[in-house]
C-alpha cells in the first residue's frame, strides 16, 4: 500500500469550527416524489439552522446542502457582516459525496415529467456540485481558491488535504474547509436497495451492531466546518486546537472484510508517528463506525490490534448524525471541539470508560470505509 502523504501539518491552527447536526432520532423525509422511493428513516435536520438576518434574501435561493454548508461555515468564520472588503487570501474547500441532490433531482424531474417543456434555469445552476462552495464564497466574500471534492466517502478528507497543501505552498493564507451532504429520498432508496441502509426505523448504535449482526446503517445529513489559519495568525491567549496530521489512503483491495487488522493498526500508528504523536498520547480514538456489522467489525478488529500495545479510549459519533459521505467532517469538528474545550461534546459516545481522566488534548479520527479507503486525522492542543 502506498502512503500518499507525509502526514505532518505543523503550524496549522483551527481558528473556528461549525457544526450542523440533525435531530437525535431518525425520522421520515417529508417530501417524496414517487411511491417507489423510500421516505426514511433518516437522521435529518427537520429545521434548517438560522442564518444571520442579512442572508434573508438569499434563503430562497439556497438549496438544502447550500444552507447546511453555509450555516456551518458562518459558525466557523463568524459572520463577516458584509463590513470588510473581499478577502483574497482565504480558500474555500468543500467535500461532498453526493452534492446538491435535491436541486439536481428537481431539475431532472421537471425535465422528464414535462418532456423538457419548461426547465428552470435556477434549478439547473443550483444542481452543480460546487454550489455550496460558491455560496460560501459569495456570502462571506472569500475570493481565494475555491475547490469542491466529490470523491465518495473521502471527499471531506480530500478537501482538508487540499486546504493544507494550499496553505503550505502559499496559495492561501487561511482556508474554510467544509464537509456537507444532504438527505434525499433518492439516496436513501438507492442505499436501501444496495443493502447499505436499514429501513427498520431503529436508531444508530455504532459498535453495538456486531453483537446483533445488524446489516446496514441509517442515513443522515449534516455539515462540519473548520477555519484553518497559520499558527502565527491564530488569536493569542486562548486554548486552540491544531491540525497535527492527516493521512488518506486508497484501497489496494476494496473488500473491507479482507482487511488485515494488523496492517490497519500499523496504518494508524504510522500516521500518528508522521504527525509526531505516539499512540499513548491519544486521549480519544474517534471511530467512523456506523452500526453496520461489517464496518463495525472492521473497526473493532483494528482497535483490538491497537490494544495489544496498550489500552486506548475509543468513541463514536455517527449516532448523532447518521451516515453520509462527508460525515468525517462531523467527527473531525467534534474532535477539535473536544481539544479546544478539554472535554467531550455529548454527540460523542464513549465506548467503555476513558483510559485517562485528564483533559482531552489529542484526538485521532479514524475512518475505514466500505470502499476500502481509510483516513486518519489528528487534532492536538
Amino acid at each position: 500500500m502506498t502512503s500518499p502523504g507525509p502526514g505532518r501539518h505543523a503550524g496549522v491552527s483551527i481558528c473556528g469550527m461549525g457544526l450542523v447536526l440533525p435531530g437525535p432520532t431518525p425520522g421520515m423525509l417529508p417530501s417524496v416524489p414517487s411511491p417507489r422511493l423510500a421516505a426514511g428513516p433518516v437522521y435529518s435536520c427537520r429545521e434548517l439552522p438560522a442564518l444571520p438576518p442579512r442572508y434573508a434574501r438569499a434563503l430562497r435561493r439556497l438549496c438544502r446542502a447550500d444552507h447546511l454548508a453555509l450555516a456551518a461555515a458562518v459558525q466557523a468564520v463568524g459572520d463577516r457582516g458584509g463590513q470588510e472588503g473581499p478577502d483574497d487570501e482565504t480558500a474555500v474547500c468543500v467535500g461532498t459525496g453526493m452534492g446538491v441532490v435535491g436541486a439536481t433531482a428537481a431539475f431532472l424531474e421537471s425535465m422528464v415529467e414535462e418532456n423538457e417543456g419548461n426547465p428552470k434555469p435556477t434549478a439547473f445552476t443550483n444542481s452543480l456540485h460546487n454550489v455550496p462552495a460558491a455560496q460560501i464564497a459569495v456570502y462571506l466574500g472569500l475570493r481565494g481558491p475555491n475547490n469542491t471534492f466529490i470523491h465518495g466517502s473521502v471527499s471531506f478528507e480530500l478537501a482538508l488535504w487540499r486546504a493544507l497543501r494550499m496553505m503550505e505552498t502559499g496559495q492561501a493564507r487561511r482556508a474554510v474547509v467544509v464537509g456537507v451532504d444532504e438527505a434525499s429520498p433518492y439516496v436513501v432508496t438507492a442505499g436501501q436497495r444496495r443493502g447499505w441502509f436499514r429501513g427498520d426505523g431503529a436508531s444508530l448504535d455504532p459498535m453495538a451492531g456486531s453483537a446483533a449482526r445488524v446489516r446496514g446503517t441509517v442515513p443522515g445529513e449534516g455539515a462540519g466546518a473548520l477555519l484553518l489559519c497559520r499558527e502565527s495568525d491564530a488569536p493569542q491567549g486562548r486554548r486552540e486546537a491544531r491540525l497535527a496530521g492527516l493521512r488518506i489512503e486508497p484501497p489496494a483491495d476494496p473488500r473491507i472484510a479482507v482487511r488485515d487488522p494488523d496492517a490497519e493498526a500499523e496504518f494508524v500508528v504510522d500516521a500518528l508517528e508522521s504527525a509526531g504523536v505516539a499512540m499513548e498520547d491519544v486521549d480519544l480514538l474517534l471511530l467512523g463506525a456506523n452500526g453496520d456489522c461489517r464496518i463495525d467489525d472492521a473497526h473493532r478488529r483494528v482497535v483490538g490490534a491497537l490494544a495489544r500495545s496498550g489500552r486506548v479510549s475509543c468513541g463514536v459519533f455517527k449516532s448523532s448524525c447518521g451516515e453520509f459521505c462527508a460525515a468525517a467532517a462531523v467527527g473531525v469538528v467534534l474532535g477539535a471541539m473536544a481539544v479546544r474545550d478539554g472535554a467531550l461534546a455529548p454527540a460523542i459516545r464513549l465506548l467503555g470508560r476513558p483510559v485517562r481522566a485528564r483533559a482531552v488534548s489529542c484526538v485521532a479520527c479514524y475512518n475505514l470505509y466500505e470502499t476500502g479507503y481509510r483516513s486518519l486525522c489528528v487534532v492536538k492542543a
Binding site: 500500500m1 502506498t2 500518499p4 502523504g5 507525509p6 416524489p33 414517487s34 411511491p35 417507489r36 422511493l37 483574497d88 474555500v92 459525496g97 453526493m98 439536481t104 433531482a105 431539475f107 431532472l108 424531474e109 425535465m111 422528464v112 415529467e113 418532456n115 423538457e116 417543456g117 426547465p119 428552470k120 434555469p121 439547473f124 445552476t125 443550483n126 452543480l128 456540485h129 460546487n130 454550489v131 462552495a133 460558491a134 455560496q135 464564497a137 459569495v138 462571506l140 472569500l142 475570493r143 481565494g144 481558491p145 475555491n146 475547490n147 469542491t148 471534492f149 466529490i150 470523491h151 465518495g152 487540499r162 497543501r165 503550505e168 505552498t169 496559495q171 432508496t189 436497495r193 489496494a252
Partner: protein
C-alpha cells in the same frame, strides 16, 4: 514542500474533433469544427443546436465491461496518455503505488441517471443498476483500476474550471512528494441535464459558438476527455522520458460575486492569471499565447477580454479560444485545452479561434483568425466556471 518543476510527459484526448492528439491537430490545421447534430439522445427542446458529440463507440474502445460514457472517455484518454509517456506497462521504473490520478468532472454518469429517472417517474420502475456509475469519482476509480494506478486519487468538481484545478492539484501532489507520477485531466459526457440547463439559461448558440466575435450568440456544448501525465522534471529526465513542456504555474481565485454571471470587470480572473504567472516566474510580456476560456457567450468573453487587458495591457499576446473545434466540454475543457496548448507548443503553431469573423470593439482585440506559425515558449490557458471559479495554468518549454 518541494519546489520541483513539473514536466508533461504524456498526453491523451477524446474529442468530437478526434480520438487522438494527431487527429485533433489535423482538425485544427484544417480549421474543421467537430460540431454537428446531436444523435446521442432525443431532446425535443434542444436537439436542433449543434454540439460537439464524440462519434464512435467509447465502450468498445475503452474495453471496460461496465461504466458510464464519461468513464469510457476517461479511460481511453488516460490509457493513451500513459502509453505516450512510456509508463503504460508495469515495470521497475513505474511503481504503481507511487502513481496517482486526479480528475475533474461535472456530469459523471448523469446520462444513466436520466434514464433511471425516466423509468422511475414514467414507468414506476426503480432500476438501481442505472445509478451504479452516477458519481463523478467513478471515472477516477475506473482509470485507477484499469491502469493499475494505486496511489493518490481525487476527483474535483469546480464546474468548468474542474480539470485545470485537477492539473494544479496533480502538480501539488508531485511537489509534496506524495506521488512520482500523476495522471491529471478531466472527462465529461453530453447529457440532457446540461443541454437543457444551458438552453434554459439562453446561453447556447443555434449556429455554433463564435468566441470573441462581435456577433457571438452563445456556447456550444461538447464532450470528451483530456489527460496529461505529470512527473517531476528531474525524474522524467532521469528515465529518459520525452518532455513536452512544463506546468510552470497555476493560480486559482473565486469571483465571490454570482453563481453564474462572471465578475464584469474580470478582476478575479485576472488575479488567477497573475498568480499563475507569479508562480511560474514569468512576466506577462514573456507570454506568447493565451488559450482563452472563450465560451462564446456575450458576458463571459467580455469579462475575459477585460481580464486579459488587465494582465497583458492593451495589446495582449496571441489569443484564441479553441472551443468551436470540440465544443465546451465543461469539466473536461481545461485539460483538453491544455493538450491543445502542448500540441501548439510542440508544433510552434497558433491554433485558430474558429468561428471568428468580426472584431468586437468592446473586446478590444482580434483573436488568432487562422492557424498559423508562431514562436511559442510560454502559454497561459484559462478555465472559468459557474460559481465564479477561475483557474489559470502556465505551460512553457523547458528553456522559457
Amino acid at each position: 514542500m518541494r519546489t520541483d518543476r513539473v514536466a508533461i510527459t504524456g498526453i491523451g484526448i477524446v474529442s468530437a474533433a478526434g480520438w487522438t492528439p494527431e487527429e485533433l491537430w489535423s482538425a485544427i490545421e484544417a480549421e474543421r469544427s467537430g460540431l454537428g447534430r446531436l444523435t446521442l439522445f432525443d431532446s425535443p427542446r434542444c436537439g436542433h443546436v449543434p454540439v460537439g458529440q464524440v462519434i464512435g463507440d467509447p465502450a468498445a474502445r475503452s474495453g471496460l465491461s461496465r461504466g458510464s460514457r464519461t468513464d469510457h472517455f476517461a479511460v481511453c484518454a488516460a490509457r493513451d496518455a500513459l502509453e505516450d509517456s512510456g509508463l503504460r506497462e508495469p515495470g521497475p521504473a513505474a511503481d504503481r503505488r507511487r502513481m496517482g490520478v486526479v480528475l475533474g468532472g461535472t456530469t459523471g454518469g448523469m446520462l444513466s441517471t436520466e434514464a433511471f429517472l425516466q423509468k422511475l417517474l414514467l414507468d414506476e420502475a426503480f432500476d438501481a443498476a442505472l445509478l451504479r456509475d452516477h458519481q463523478c469519482c467513478a471515472a477516477t476509480e475506473a482509470v485507477a483500476a484499469g491502469l493499475q494506478l494505486r496511489g493518490f486519487r481525487a476527483t474535483v468538481s469546480d464546474a468548468c474550471a474542474s480539470s485545470n484545478a485537477a492539473v494544479a492539484i496533480g502538480c501539488d501532489v508531485l511537489r509534496s512528494g506524495e506521488a512520482d507520477v500523476m495522471l491529471a485531466g478531466g472527462a465529461d459526457s453530453l447529457t440532457r441535464l446540461t443541454l437543457n440547463g444551458f438552453c434554459s439559461l439562453l446561453n447556447v448558440s443555434h449556429e455554433g459558438a463564435r468566441p470573441f466575435d462581435a456577433e457571438r450568440s452563445g456556447l456550444s456544448l461538447g464532450e470528451g476527455a483530456g489527460m496529461l501525465v505529470l512527473e517531476r522534471e528531474e525524474a522524467a529526465v532521469a528515465r529518459g522520458a520525452r518532455i513536452y513542456g512544463l506546468v510552470a504555474g497555476y493560480g486559482s481565485t473565486c469571483d465571490a460575486n454570482h453563481l453564474t454571471a462572471p465578475m464584469p470587470d474580470g478582476s478575479a480572473a485576472a488575479n488567477a492569471m497573475r498568480r499563475a504567472l507569479e508562480m511560474a516566474g514569468i512576466a506577462p510580456a514573456a507570454v506568447d499565447y493565451v488559450n482563452a476560456h472563450g465560451t462564446g457567450t456575450v458576458t463571459n468573453d467580455l469579462a475575459e477580454a477585460r481580464a486579459l487587458r488587465a494582465v497583458f495591457g492593451s495589446r495582449p499576446p496571441a489569443v484564441s479560444s479553441t472551443k468551436r473545434f470540440f465544443g465546451h466540454t465543461l469539466g473536461a475543457a481545461g485539460a483538453m485545452e491544455a493538450v491543445v496548448c502542448v500540441l501548439a507548443m510542440q508544433r510552434q503553431r497558433f491554433p485558430a479561434n474558429l468561428g471568428f469573423r468580426t472584431m468586437d470593439a468592446e473586446v478590444g482585440f482580434a483573436p488568432v483568425a487562422h492557424t498559423c506559425d508562431g514562436t511559442i515558449r510560454a502559454i497561459v490557458t484559462n478555465s472559468f466556471g459557474f460559481g465564479g471559479n477561475n483557474c489559470s495554468l502556465v505551460i512553457c518549454g523547458r528553456e522559457a
